[in-house]
Structure formats: C-alpha cells, structure tokens
C-alpha cells in the first residue's frame, strides 16, 4: 500500500506556544487512520496544515508523493482533501442547502438554480439520513444538526482523502452509528480518512492504524490491532492510567433542585423532576428528546411556558440566570463557544466571573486574588494553559471546555447542571471532570448530568430518559448500554 498523505518535520508556533514540534504522520492509501492525543496536543493544528488553511513554520506535506499545492490555490486543496473541522464552518445566515454547496452552488459563472440546488441538497441530506429541511437557515439548527450538515458536506465532495476532527463529539448514538456506516462504505470505495476522536473505542471500531501525539510531538504510529487500550492511553498521557470507576453516593433527604410541571412548547411537556443532595441524576434521550431544553430551563437560560424551578428551596424567577446562580447553582452550557466563555478574556477572568464579588470589597476585583483562585482551578482541572492570564480563545477545544467547567465549579455550587460536560475532552481530562462532579456531590451537592455519552451517565444514581419531550422512564443505577439505548430510542416503554 502506498502512502496517500504524509507530513514530516512539521513545526507550528503561535506566539510563545509551540503547537507542533517536529510532528509527523503518514497515512496509507485507503486506510482509516486515527489521530489521538490529549487536548492541546496539536491535532487540530495538524488538520489546518493538512487542509492548507495554515502554513507550517517548518516541515513539508505531500499528497501521493507530490508536494502540497500553494496555500493560495484553494481549489487544488479542495480537490485533494475534504474536512469536518473541529470549529464550525457553518454560515448561520445562509440556508442549509447553500451551506452544503457553498462556493459550488452552480458551475463557474452560471446562474444559480435555487430549486435544483435545494433538490440536490435534499438528496444529499437523505443519503446521509440527516433530518433537516434544506430550506431552513443554518443558524436555526441545533448544534447536532449543524454538525450533521458539516459531515454531509465534507463527505459529498468526492475527495479521495477526508479528515474528520472530532465529528462525534456532538452526536448521539444513532447518529454516530450512521456516520460509521457511511465511513465504512467510503472506505470500501478506497477513500483514505483521518479520524480524530477522544472516544478511543471508536478508534478501535473503525480505524486500522493510529498515530499518537503528545505535547506537540509524534509518539507512535501502529496498527490498532497491535495497540491495546491501556497502552494507547499510556502513549497519550505518558503514564499508565486506570479506567474511571464511578463512585457510590449516599443521597440525603433534602431536595436541592426541583422542577415542577415544566412545559415549553416544541421542546418538552409536563416534566417533574427532583434532585436530592448527594445525588447525581442523568438526563438521556436521543435527538430532539428535549433534554437540553429542559436542562437549560433548570439553569434559567430558558423561560418555561408553565411550571417553576426551585433551587435549594428557593423559587427562582423563571429565565433568570443570575438568580439561579445566587441560589447556589453552577452549570456547564451545551455549546461552549456560544455560552461558555468570552474568548478575549483570560482563563482567570472567565473562570471566576460568578465569584467576582468575593474577590475583593466594594466592587473591586483583586487581580492577585483572581490569579490565585484561577491557579487553583487550573491545577484542579489540569487545564493546559500558559497561565491564568492567557485568553481562553487561544486554548485548544478541550481545554476551553475545562475552563467552562471551572466556571461552573468555582462558587462551590450545591446544585450542578452539566450539559454534554465532556464534549471534546480527552480521556484523562474526562476523568478529571467527572471526578469534579462527583467531588461536588460528595460534598453534599446534587447534580444533573445531561449527556449523549453513556460513559458520562455511569456516574448517575438514576437516569431519566426523555422521548419526544416527555420523561418516559426513571432508570436506576446498574443499567447496561443496550437497555438504556433501547429506552432512549423509544423501543421500550
């Protein structure tokens, strides 16, 4: 088998940060090649270099033995490689159809036939079983639907090399399955793929070989079959790491979070929910189940049509985040870019906004105390950053997620609501984040974990499964994957 894509000696610096330091990768023709590494290891940076968005400071990229085209020649790059980037490349103000066929709406110079374009888009969406209206504005889609549109677009180019940078971080089980089926058939057609994910079991499921990056360098490249799970994790983290063990909790009697008679048109109907101190409650459900909408209502991001929310016995004004926070809530929103952090502000400021009033008197925020507090959080959550003063916008995706987590935990909340808490977070960090939730619960807090990932739900004492906007089942600890998925898919009442 010949080498389809090869990068050697790649160095890329961003100011004082070295994102890639002599890294290399070689991907054989027709294989699906995994690239794994901890958050900030330089994976996405390599993607931007392999797709011609950025020029490496040093090193070389070759496609089928030929040097890569000039950076300005975007058409040549697009013929060579298609990509699902980690950062969204959807244009919210345009329709789904136009996003799918951006810059190829028509033949060069020809008039766009919108009707035909929509039909083509519908075909494409059908092929990939993406259930969105081609005419809808992309900005109105859910995070997940947007991701599906991006995937459909990347796969539709007919490129012989496709890169997928954490495509599944925002997808639920069935969507992931569909994606894998699709990738399988592409591979059968001889398409080469590079696949990035923090779900290592996915790597074993669909990839033939794997490259591990650590601290901006290449560590190893091996067939997946030769690399057991433990060794893979050890290669990524540089040390042996045991699998995460969920702990036992002893829920108390006090109810810390209550939702009573909550309904929101189009999202969920007649939901009652109580969380006691020391208890972790999961919220699960497949696409459009309404779980995210419900969780956002609990934290005050949405105002329900009916019903109310109590935090620590205090009835919180609906749709009022500050009131919920003051009542003792901490939360991690679904989309970190949207509601999670202010990119230009530092790690320290982003993490400490909810406790700013405690960092000094008379409305003054003491930078020294802020830095000290942020330092603690950085250490506790193992955030890879130059320090509390680095802007969050410069962090890698997973590390930015940890900053959002830090913000949720900073005020020692007695109620924690986390939505897809480990999206895009590496194995070790995932353990740190789930551990942080459990620590808080052991201190007497109650937690709600909303997630598409079964691993996250394993720490829950019970899982509420939603289907079409209703809570259909309360599943106690001890479920198997198969059971829970069956309930989520509505196959079992």
């Amino acid at each position: 088998m010949s080498t389809h894509v090869e990068a050697t000696g790649v160095v890329k610096r961003f100011g004082p940060t070295t994102a890639l330091n002599g890294a290399r990768i070689a991907i054989a023709e027709g294989e699906t090649h995994a690239l794994v590494g901890r958050n900030g290891a330089g994976k996405s940076t390599l993607v931007s270099i392999l797709t011609g968005l950025q020029r490496p400071d040093e090193g070389e990229v070759r496609f089928a033995g030929r040097p890569a085209p000039a950076l300005a020649d975007r058409d040549a790059w697009r013929r060579l490689v298609a990509c699902v980037y980690q950062k969204s490349t959807i244009i919210p103000a345009l329709t789904v159809a136009e996003n799918l066929f951006l810059n190829r709406q028509s033949a060069r110079g020809a008039t766009i036939n919108w009707r035909a374009l929509r039909a083509k888009a519908r075909d494409l969406l059908d092929t990939y079983e993406v259930d969105v209206d081609a005419r809808a504005l992309a900005g109105d889609l859910s995070v997940e639907q947007r991701q599906l549109v991006e995937i459909a677009r990347a796969l539709s180019f007919g490129a012989r090399f496709i890169i997928l940078d954490e495509p599944t971080a925002r997808l639920d089980g069935p969507a992931i399955e569909r994606l894998f089926t699709r990738m399988q058939s592409l591979r059968e057609q001889g398409v080469t793929m590079m696949y990035i994910s923090h779900h290592l079991d996915e790597v074993y499921e669909i990839c033939q070989s794997v490259t591990v990056f650590r601290d901006a360098r290449h560590v190893t490249t091996r067939p997946v079959a030769d690399l057991p799970h433990d060794e893979l994790v050890a290669a990524m983290t540089g040390e042996a790491t045991a699998a995460y063990e969920a702990r036992e909790h002893t829920p108390g009697e006090r109810v810390v979070l209550r939702g009573a008679g909550l309904s929101l048109a189009g999202r969920y109907t007649a939901v009652d929910l109580t969380v006691r101190e020391g208890e972790v409650v999961g919220l699960a459900g497949s696409a459009s189940s309404g779980k995210v909408g419900l969780a956002e209502t609990l934290v005050g991001l949405r105002r329900p049509d009916t019903g109310h929310v109590e935090v620590n016995g205090v009835r919180v004004r609906p749709g009022d985040v500050p009131a919920a926070l003051r009542a003792g809530l901490g939360f991690v929103p679904e989309d970190r870019h949207h509601e999670g952090f202010v990119p230009l502000l530092s790690v320290g400021e982003n993490a400490t906004f909810p406790i700013a009033r405690k960092l000094g008197r008379y409305g003054v925020v003491s930078p020294a105390r802020r830095r000290a507090k942020a330092g603690e959080l950085i250490a506790a959550l193992d955030i890879k950053t130059e320090g509390p003063d680095q802007p969050v916008g410069d962090l890698s995706g997973g590390n930015a997620q940890k900053v959002v987590f830090a913000r949720a935990l900073v005020d020692d909340p007695t109620v924690l609501v986390v939505i897809n808490p480990t999206a895009g977070v590496d194995v070790k960090a995932k353990q740190a984040l789930l551990g942080a939730v459990e620590d808080a619960v052991e201190r007497g807090a109650g937690a709600v974990v909303v997630s598409d990932e079964l691993d996250d739900l394993r720490i829950c004492d019970r899982v509420l499964v939603m289907f079409h906007g209703r809570v259909v089942k309360d599943v106690p600890r001890g479920w198997t994957d198969h059971e829970l998925v069956a309930v989520m898919e509505g196959m079992e009442e």
Binding site: C83, N103, G266
Partner: protein
Amino acid sequence: MTTLTAPAPRVRLARFRDLTLVPVIVLLLVVGAILDPTFLTAGNLTNVLQQQSAISLLVLAEAMILIAGKFDLSLESTVGTAPAIAVMLVVPAAAGGFGIGLPGALVIPLALLIGAAIGAFNGFLIIRFQLSAFIVTLAMLIIVHGFLQGPTEGKTLFELPDSILYLGSAIWLGLPAAIWIAGALFAAGIFGLGYLRLGRSLYAIGGNIDAARAAGIRVDRILYGAFILGGTLAALAGILETGRLGAIGNNQGVGWIFMVFAAAVIGGVSMDGGKGTILGALTGVLVIGLVQNILTLIGVSGFWQPVIYGSIILIALMISRIAGGKAQD
C-alpha cells in the same frame, strides 16, 4: 426522527423578510396622498425617484460592502471628488481645471476610474494591512473630500463638459435617465447577489470569513472587488448628481453617508455582515425618499424637521424589526 419545528412557514417568512418595509411604503403613500394632493401625481413620484437615484447607488454599494462584513464611509466623498477631479483634468485652467486638457469624452471613464482607485486604496489598507474599516474609511472620507476642496479652493465647478451632464439630466422614454440607470443597476444587484456565485460569496464572507476561506472562496480578491465596485458606483452617483445639479459644489455628497446607512439598515441589511438583500435596501431608499418628499410638501418647520425625520427613521426601524422578527445588529 421527528423534527418538532415546522420548517415551511419559517422559510416563507424569510423570503418576505426582504419586504418588511412594503407596508411602510404603502402607509407613506396613503398618508402622503391624504396630506397633499400633489403627492400622488406621476410628476411628483418621478421627482422622488429621480432625487433618490444618486443616493440609491450609494445604498447599493454600501449594502454590498456591508453584506460582505465590511464598511465604507468614504463613498460620500467620492460622490463629489471623483467627477470633480475628472472634470478638472478635462476643462481648461480658466474654468477651474488643471490645464491638462484631456479630451472631454474621457470625463466619465476618468471619474469612474478615480472612484475605482479610491475603492482600491480603501481595500488595500483594510485587507492588506488589516486595519479597521470604519476608521480607514473615516479618514478616507476626510482625505478624499480634501482632494475636492484643495484643488478647487472651495469653489464650485460649473463649466462642465456636456458629456458629464448628460446622464443626470437626459430623459429616456419619458423618464429621467438616472431612474433607468439606478433601476438597471439595482436589478443587476438583486440578480448578482441572489443568483451568482460571486454574489453569494459576499454573504459567506460576511457571515463567517474563516468558513468562507475554508470553502475555497477567494476572500481577499472578492473584498477588493467589493470596495472597487463600491467606489465606482459612488463615482457614478456623483456623475448623476452632477448632471442633475448642473455643477459640482464643494459639498456634493457631504452628509449623505448617514442616510445611506439608515436606508440600508431599515431595509434589513445588517451592520454585522452576512445578512440582508439588495431588494430590501431598495425599499429602505424608497422609504427615506418618500419621507423627505412628504415633509417637504407639507412644509414642516425647518427647526423641527429633524425631530420628525429622525422619529420616522426610528419607527421604520421598529416596523422592520417587528416584521422581520429578529434582533438587529
């Protein structure tokens, strides 16, 4: 797999969003007709269109640039400076020219070229040096106007070659040529931004410049094009205005830019880029033109006119907000 949102009505709404000002226009037509019998005559409405034709070209240019996520304040200065410099290159020194004496037939191409050059220079500073478009074009507004005031020493140019007067004063098929020209350019704009890949890429650039770049759109080249086309349209607006007024005063175009923005934004073009249509911008121009005309006809006191005028802009803005259903930015 059930998507709970009903997509169909949403899309239909989106299409009508271009036309949120149509009720306002109808209202203005009714109010105008009630307030003054002259208002609804063909003559008066033709006047309104003719009066708006020059400024409408600026709105067209600005809408395009705004959709691409940029900004150009200097257009208003180009309206005076481009035709003036072109004229001065052509007319003898006695008539206020430079005494170079290029042939009179060149005056329109020269003016358009000067407009294009100003646009290119703006683009150069903004794209190449990544400077703030607002401040670059603000400085250019001052500088370009200085290039009218400096060589003319503040004087009006009124001995103009016939060629530059023609377009702004001719009548074609019973309507002023300026109306035909503006109409044709708007039609081209609506078509170009609606049905050409080049036009659509302006939306992509304004909506998410990184995504546009990743999709293979030649962002820099297209932005240059937008600035150059914008400058050229502003020069053409200047030519039409020159023909309408018969001379080039030192204040030609000065103060237009605020109205241009107001027209574009109440017409649904976002200041943040990526949103709005040329048709919407056109309705914005019409609203502004009709309001001005009605205020003139009913003869509101000059002292209070600004208050009424500003209030009407606010009301139009609210209507466009309510009908459009989306927060503006």
